[in-house]
Symmetry: D2
């Protein structure tokens, strides 16, 4: 990830109006006026305050202007996405999840939901895709279709808060950065030998309703941990995951005589993440004949 | 299972030679002489002793006669099976596993192994299929191909012991029945409320290298157990299984507020069985945020 | 326990009034009129209904008669107890807990509470001692001192229900016996070897605020259980207990090499019982390096 | 602990022989010749190599000189200790354990062992007391009495290695310090709420055969940990410990409704430490109805 250099909050606090706009105008989709309004609230002590000011500019704008802004967002996985007219930020965020490689059936389902949603609300469905798996987006889509128009408009603005917070943190450096990253980690304890388990192969899968995808493989180090968290550096995606631990191989290599085949070989731990900015530590405490896990932190 | 009435050991101990042969002659494949030899060792105090006497008759027979007997067994999943010439006992045992519904690729793999095996050993591969999943049979096939001819002949006779022990127990009733049945059971403990968890949906899958199959579904009762063991009444099949517990639904119905989605929804417990006549109790001790299991008995 | 033969409910249902009174007159302390009133409600389908009828007779009696009855109970551990004027039933129940061997300090504390209680309520403190440890009785004493006079009178009558239910079940046999027994059991699972742990020494202690007392020792059998429940045959006493398992000896005898001294040697499990008629299963799932327990049933 | 400033390894590498001897002469009890011999092996790349050189000087000395050195050590808890003639180092090390406050019975036991030991071996019992609890010292005393004279002399020299390694690390700073510190820590996970448990009172006891002593109390912080390890900064003492966690109070303050009294109130975790320089992490994973622990690191 060779991210472009970020601009400092100090610099923004002393920049001219055009410079400020050039730096932050694209944070809110097709709405440079949001940054322009926030300009007047300078100086900002923290990046979080700057984001608050931008959100306040949006929330205090006339409803018509807000609606025009919301309507300026691309339809998720819909025609606009395929016509290539999304802003660079939207393209990158939706591509990260693989939504640009939808199967025909999935495109059909998304388009049906898009259609119902547009008919009911008159604006496109907006969600911070970097905080959700594909399954979670579908679940949110269905839930939010049941809201009132006002309730759903508030939900959309709330999601815009998540989206723009991420964009702002990508662009601006300085004190008081809002928390936009979560972390998933694991740890294997060998209760047969009373020590951390080194050399255990670990695989992390995303588990969807119709399919699963391998996200990452790693091997535990001498401390029974993976050298790096399994996921970090951004929000976690709300959704369901499965960790698989090659416990049978580990105990065989450790010279432990067990059953043939071993009672525990590949141990799956399935769990869901509900807090994209949370810390999830999901350890495996294991002997050849039992195991346990818990949500740690 | 409407099994035919079994003959009593007492009756066999006083039967005429022809009656004895009629009752037990088919236990050993195309080899009524095994039962005929055992007849001379009467009376038998237990069914196990009767089986021992039949195995002794086989093991003491001239090697030529033993080999003819072994060669009289059908090739697993091979031409004989499809030509319908297996004995009724073999057909029933192999069908129970689904081996009669092999895919072309699996037929090819089995036939290749059958071919290599026949070339090396000159007799068909014999295994007590009721004690193995399909994956376990393939693993045994590959392992036994590496044995010496004498070692493998002994392995084949050993398997005939398992096969005929099961057939004998199906036919004869009396004291001292050999143990031919295993048991798989489960139990769900709710450590959020400190009680057994009633109403939990449980599904048992067989997990193969290339596929998985649903074996059974059940719901826990007021004691957190299933009304009947998940598997019982016969040997367990050596192989890999997965229990899945609908823990998310259980806690939601119990009114427990957890995360959305819940940290634990479907909890899989994957384990292997290595003792077909063993008792496997695989409980789930679970709260909304942790779980453990162990091999109990 | 060579209990005297119990009278059958059938017999009571057809007994004469004097016979009925002779059998049941002592169930309610110094109050044969309770049984006499219940006599008129015959026949009873269950023993529980008979007890309900006796309690109804008490509850429907004039308040003066109720109060006279309640005042007829001995002061717990007080002067009456030491003067030997308690009914045989009260003596036996209080002696079972060791309350007759109070230290001077404990006598002083009980007498002080008795005094405050008598001043506030004008009747002796009544509690079904067979359902409580000494510590639990003291806790109840302090709590109930804080109640209103009406609230405490109801609490006293409630306790009389527990006391007389136990006495009735000791005297009368028949259908529909009220549940007056709890059960405490344990089970040791060895997750190093994947089997129940036989031969583990288990000790059960009552843990009081000022002292602990050994209640029972046992050794686990081949199934990892004790041959009999640790407590059964009567109500459990509300209170705190500690199970101690000689896990270090067990693994040493099993030839498991661990640390010196072993990480786990004597494993204490401390827990409290709150339901005297409940089933408490408190298992130990243990390897040389970890253990867990839970309330099972 | 206001330790005197340590001398640097660099300084020692360039010091004159008298300066070197003044700095290190007291490391080996009454044996400045050990440092003097090591002086000739300069320069030392690490503190560990310096210690190795001192131990080599001891091990290569004539047996008579070694024996004189060993005999120069005080008798543990014996007459010398009470006569106040121990070196300052010995006094401080033995006092840390409380061995200077022995009861008469314990003094008698130690003296009896000292006597038997002296008769058998002709030199005083030497052990690095900072690596043992009092109970562990007694156990070592009894075990080592069973060794041969050569075996025990080697054991004594080995202990002198531990003792002098600690003294050297107290005196000298520099690269390659030998590892002389262990660590005991804990962590409380609340599996009812799926989070670390803050505000849990934790008490650490040393558990001896005849008594127990409170070593430390702490309260868990927002991360469920104690702010500092329970023991650190020196070797752990081989011996038995008990952690007690006020789980009942924790759940009550968290508003969790459980039983009355709660199934789990004070949860004791008893374990032994066998590696004085090891890391012991002993977590509590707990709901109101179950708990588990394991040796982590």
């Amino acid at each position: 990830m060779t991210a472009p250099a970020r601009i400092s909050l100090d610099r923004l606090n002393t920049a001219s109006r055009p410079e400020f706009g050039a730096a932050l105008g694209a944070i809110f989709e097709h709405a440079p006026w949001v940054a322009d309004t926030a300009f007047d609230a300078r100086p900002f002590a923290t990046v979080a305050t700057l984001h608050d000011a931008m959100m306040a500019a949006l929330r205090r704008a006339p409803r018509d202007q807000q609606m025009t802004f919301v309507r300026g967002h691309p339809e998720l996985a819909g025609k606009i996405a395929r016509a290539g007219t999304m802003t660079a930020e939207s393209t990158s965020e939706q591509g990260g999840l693989g939504l640009d490689k939808l199967s025909d059936a999935e495109v059909a389902k998304f388009e049906k939901l898009n259609g119902e949603y547009a008919r009911k609300f008159g604006f496109p469905f907006i969600i911070c895709v970097r905080r959700h798996t594909r399954d979670s987006i579908l679940r949110q889509f269905e839930r939010r279709l049941a809201l009132t128009k006002d309730g759903e408009f508030a939900a959309a603005v709330n999601e815009i808060g998540y989206i723009t917070r991420l964009r702002l943190v990508d662009k601006v450096d300085g004190p008081g950065l809002p928390v936009t990253t979560g972390r998933l980690s694991t740890h294997v304890l060998d209760t047969y030998n009373g020590r951390p388990a080194p050399g255990v192969s670990v695989a992390l899968y995303e588990v969807g309703a119709s399919a699963r995808g391998l996200l990452k493989t790693a091997t535990t180090n001498a401390d029974g941990r993976t050298d790096a968290p399994l996921i970090s550096g951004g929000p976690l995606r709300t959704g369901t995951y499965e960790l698989q631990f090659a416990v049978g191989d580990y105990f065989r290599h450790a010279g432990v005589k067990t059953a043939d085949p071993p009672f525990l070989d590949i141990v799956p731990l399935r769990f869901s993440i509900a807090e994209p900015e949370g810390h999830y530590h999901v350890p495996l405490v294991v002997s050849p004949w039992n195991f346990s896990t818990y949500r740690g932190s």
